[in-house]
Each structure stands twice: as structure tokens, then as C-alpha cells.
């Protein structure tokens, strides 16, 4: 950690056991409010699920936590440090404590699997080649893809690409692993593998995991704690059992996958018959 980032004192009253804390965040894009007073805490060493209907800003929340965007107001604290007040170099220093798994893997397409996993090691260390090789093979072994080390990203299936991205995210042993929609578009076998890996990483490495998804079933198996975001705020939080019994209509609709509820089937539109006759 650089001296500047290291010397930044944690904000007062930051909860001691929470590694990420979002305090009363307001954020809008193009005049549309995404968050209006969002507050939540991610507990250290646990798997926290961030859920919610499509378009509620789950990925935007990750972008706020990782400092890719800044809130209009409010605070986003990472280990007590306000992410939105950091300079670019301080932010990069802080990001070395995070790993992120993108929805599409975001592998470097002109490098093979081995080089993708080695990438952060080569960029951030002067480790000898033999040691880099050992670390990369260890990480690939952990995700079951040591044998695919010399394949190119174009030769991988969606599930394999995500496992490689997970190996790359773990390469520098981050404190927090952030998963953006890790289950989207995967077959049940690949999905099962990813669920197992997330659980294993969290348990074996003692890291904190933040999983953004709308796959309720997978998250019910995986998550220690969950937040459901709707209407720019936290609509509900707690264990999955607590969420199932939640009395909020939108939480009930989301958790049970109902077509009708506060989130309407139809996008707001003028009267159907009037619209047809207007032509």
C-alpha cells in the first residue's frame, strides 16, 4: 500500500467488522435516480449477496464500491477509507486489495489462459518466472483448469472463461472478491462449479465475497447474508429464510419469481387500444 493511501485514517464510526460500508448514497445517471439513500454493510469474511430485479443498479453498486464511479452524495467506505475521495494512484493501491470477476470474464483476448492469470503478477511484482509459473498453476489447479493453461480465451466455454477470470482475480490474493453476475448464461454443471468455487475460496482463503446476481436459488445456497435492492434503496436484508418471509410486496415478488407485483410486466405505455387506433 502506498504511503498516502496507508496514511489515510479510517472514517470514524465505521463498523469494525464491516469491510465495505455504503452510507446514504445518492447516485443518478442522465437525470435518472439509481440510488436515493442507499445504505448497507458488507461483513468481513462472509459471502454477501446483492440481489434485485434487472435495472435496479446492482452492477452500479459494484462500480461505486470499486471507485469506478463516484456517488452524487453519501459515502462508500472500503475498510474505513472513503473510496470517492481517493486520487487515481490511491485508488489503484486500494484496488490491489480487491479482485473482481466480470460477467463475461473480461479476459485479455490476445493472451492465453496462463498469461491472463499471470498478468496481475507480472504487472505488480518482480517475481522470478519460475515462481510466477508455480503461482499461476496453483490458481489454475484451484479452478480445475491447469490443463487448459495454453488455450486461448476464444477456445473456452463461458463457464471455463469465468473460472479463468476467477483464477486471475485470486492471483494476487485479494481481501475481497467481487462477483458480477457470475451465474448468468451458464449451464447447471458450470453453475454448480462456480457456486462451489465461490464457497471454497471464501472458506479456504478467509476472504470476503460480494456476489451480485438475480439467481435467487444459487444465492440461497451460497450467501451468508443478502440484500435486495429496489427503488434505489435496500428493500430487504438478512438471511435467505428471513427474506422469504419478508412482508414487502416487491421482496415477495422477487424471491418467489412472480410475474405480477410492484414490478409490472408491462413497461409504462399509453392505453393499448388508443395506441393501436392512433396508427
Amino acid at each position: 500500500m502506498s504511503s498516502n493511501a496507508a496514511s489515510r485514517k479510517p472514517e470514524p464510526q465505521a463498523a469494525q467488522d464491516s469491510i465495505v460500508e455504503v452510507r446514504d448514497v445518492h447516485y443518478s445517471i442522465g437525470g435518472r435516480a439509481i440510488f436515493s439513500g442507499l445504505s448497507l454493510q458488507i461483513q468481513r469474511g462472509r459471502i454477501t449477496a446483492i440481489m434485485g430485479p434487472s435495472g435496479t443498479g446492482k452492477t452500479t453498486l459494484l462500480r461505486l464500491i470499486t471507485g469506478q464511479v463516484k456517488p452524487d452524495s453519501g459515502q462508500v467506505l472500503f475498510d474505513g477509507i472513503d473510496v470517492s475521495n481517493l486520487s487515481t494512484s490511491e485508488l489503484y493501491t486500494l484496488r490491489r486489495r480487491m479482485g473482481m470477476l466480470f460477467q463475461n470474464g473480461a479476459l485479455l483476448t490476445d493472451e492465453d489462459v496462463f498469461e491472463n492469470v499471470a498478468f496481475p503478477l507480472r504487472e505488480h511484482s518482480d517475481l522470478p518466472e519460475a515462481l510466477i509459473r508455480n503461482i499461476v498453476l496453483t490458481k489454475l489447479q484451484a479452478v480445475g483448469l491447469r490443463g487448459a493453461a495454453r488455450l486461448m480465451p476464444a477456445e473456452l466455454s463461458g463457464g471455463m472463461a469465468r473460472r479463468v477470470a476467477l483464477a486471475r482475480a485470486m492471483a494476487t490474493d485479494p481481501e475481497v472478491l467481487i462477483y458480477d453476475e457470475p451465474f448468468t448464461g451458464l449451464d447447471p454443471i458450470s453453475m454448480g462449479m462456480i457456486v462451489r468455487l465461490v464457497r471454497q475460496m471464501n472458506f479456504a482463503l478467509g476472504i470476503t465475497s460480494i456476489v451480485v446476481s438475480h439467481d435467487v436459488e444459487e444465492l440461497s445456497i451460497l450467501a451468508d447474508a443478502s440484500y435486495i435492492i429496489a427503488g434505489g434503496k435496500v428493500a430487504a436484508s438478512g438471511s435467505f429464510v428471513e427474506l422469504k418471509d419478508h412482508d414487502s410486496e416487491i421482496v415477495h415478488q422477487f424471491v418467489n419469481g412472480l410475474a405480477d407485483g410492484p414490478v409490472a410486466f408491462h413497461y409504462p405505455a399509453p392505453d393499448y387500444y388508443e395506441d393501436l387506433l392512433a396508427g
Binding site: T66, Q68, T88, Y92, T93, R95, R96, M98, G99, M100, F102, Q103, N104, A106, L107, L108, T109, F119, P120, E123, H124, A165, R168, T172
Partner: protein, 255 residues
């Protein structure tokens, strides 16, 4: 009123874009020293932008020289001064056609490759992934490609010029039997180092301009298929127009 408002909007957009490019250029320059500390990345980009453009540059250089030989001979023989073909052809290729045509070809081959590659990296979250791994894409992706371009472009210009003069000679001496001794001796006595430097300087300036436009457009491409396509098109169009404007300015200064 509508016309004036549109004109004002266009002027404002142009000034904003020029400012954005200038800021981007400053960011690239700030990363140059660190990029140069990784020579392997720069060499890779010199290969991608330079070596892979060699065939097209050499082919076009040969044919541009040969066409120049044909038209030059036709013009000069009307005045009975075919021996001056060497001088006329060499000066035209060294001072104008070499740098300008090389820049246009560079924009079309290497510039579009750079813009679409960087644009696709943006669209597929590769640049964001680098940022999340605390790796600055300006240092790791943009600066090496920019340096690769500005090294490759003057070299390609020199190769184009050499092949172009060979093309003039091929038509003038081999086809129309212009006296070889006169062809080469007149060229040697009339073409000075300052003429060659003019070509090299133009090659360097066009290299900076075309490489900057390509990496800027790619880096700022909208993360969609249409956005990458638009960035690629803009790279060619802006590079071509900028090359011709800069060519006029440089010629006027160095005349």
C-alpha cells in the same frame, strides 16, 4: 436562427473535442517514460503497426513511383528534359507523396487496427478489468501503441520513398530508356539533405497525428459494435483530413 444555432453547436463540439484530444495527449505523454521502460511492449507494437504494414507500403510505393515515372516522363519529354525525371520524381516522392501517402495508408491499415482493437477491449470490459487489477490502461495499452506508431511511421515513410524512387527509375530508365547516369547524377546533385529531412519530419509529425487519433478514438469508443465501427471510420477520416492539413502547414513552413 436555426442555422446559427447549429453552427454554434458544431463549433462548440469541435473546440470541446480538440480540448479532449489535447488532454488525452497529455495523459499519454505522461505515461511515455514508464511505457519505454517496457521495451518488449513497444517492440511488439512496432511489429504490429510497422512490420505488418510493410507489404501494402512497398506495393503502393512501387506503383506510386511507377505512375510518377509515366506522368513525369510524359511531361518532361515535351520540354526535352527527360534527364530531369530523376530529380523531379525523387523530390515529389521524398517531400510530398512519400509522407502523405504513407500516412494515409498507415491510417487505413494500422490506425483502424489500433482503434478497433482498443475499442473492442473497451467493449469487452478488458480495459475496465485492467483498471480493476490496478493496471492503468493508459500505461499498459495506449502508450506502447502510440510509441509503436510514432516509431513505425517514419520508417515506413523511408521505405515508401526508397521503393517509390525505384519505381520512377523502373519506368524512366528501364522502360523509356532515359539515360541512367543522367537520371541518378541529376538526382544526387539536386536532392539535398534538407529535402530528405523534410520528408522525415513530415513522417514523424504524421506518425504522431495518426497514432494519436487512432488510440484516442479507440479508447473513447462507445462500448458497442456500432461504437467500435464508428471509431474506426472516424480514425480514417480524421487522420486523412489532418494529414493533408498538416502537410500544407509543414510545406509552407519548410518551403
Amino acid at each position: 436562427m436555426h442555422f446559427l444555432r447549429e453552427l454554434w453547436d458544431n463549433v462548440r463540439e469541435f473546440v470541446t473535442t480538440v480540448g479532449a484530444v489535447a488532454l488525452f495527449f497529455g495523459r499519454v505523454l505522461a505515461q511515455l517514460p514508464r511505457a519505454l521502460m517496457r521495451p518488449s511492449l513497444v517492440v511488439e507494437q512496432v511489429h504490429n503497426t510497422g512490420a505488418l504494414s510493410l507489404v501494402i507500403i512497398m506495393t503502393c510505393g512501387l506503383f506510386v513511383g511507377m505512375v510518377l515515372g509515366l506522368t513525369g516522363y510524359d511531361l518532361l519529354q515535351r520540354f526535352g528534359s527527360e534527364e530531369a525525371l530523376g530529380t523531379a520524381g525523387a523530390l515529389a516522392v521524398i517531400k510530398e507523396l512519400g509522407p502523405v501517402v504513407t500516412a494515409l495508408l498507415f491510417a487505413g491499415r494500422a490506425g483502424t487496427a489500433l482503434a478497433s482493437e482498443i475499442g473492442l477491449m473497451r467493449a469487452t470490459d478488458q480495459l475496465t478489468a485492467m483498471e480493476m487489477m490496478a493496471v492503468d490502461p493508459m500505461r499498459r495499452v495506449i502508450a506502447p501503441r502510440f510509441v509503436g506508431g510514432i516509431i513505425a511511421m517514419p520508417l515506413l515513410t523511408m521505405i515508401f520513398i526508397s521503393i517509390g524512387i525505384f519505381g520512377v527509375q523502373l519506368v524512366g530508365v528501364q522502360q523509356f530508356k532515359v539515360d541512367a547516369a543522367s537520371f541518378w547524377s541529376q538526382m544526387r546533385s539536386s536532392v539535398g539533405l534538407d529535402d530528405i529531412m523534410e520528408g522525415v519530419i513530415k513522417g514523424c509529425v504524421f506518425g504522431v497525428a495518426c497514432s494519436l487519433i487512432a488510440v484516442y478514438e479507440g479508447y473513447n469508443a462507445a462500448p458497442t459494435a456500432e461504437g467500435v465501427g464508428r471509431a474506426t471510420t472516424r480514425t480514417v477520416v480524421i487522420s486523412a483530413v489532418l494529414t493533408l492539413i498538416l502537410d500544407y502547414l509543414l510545406t509552407a513552413i519548410m518551403l
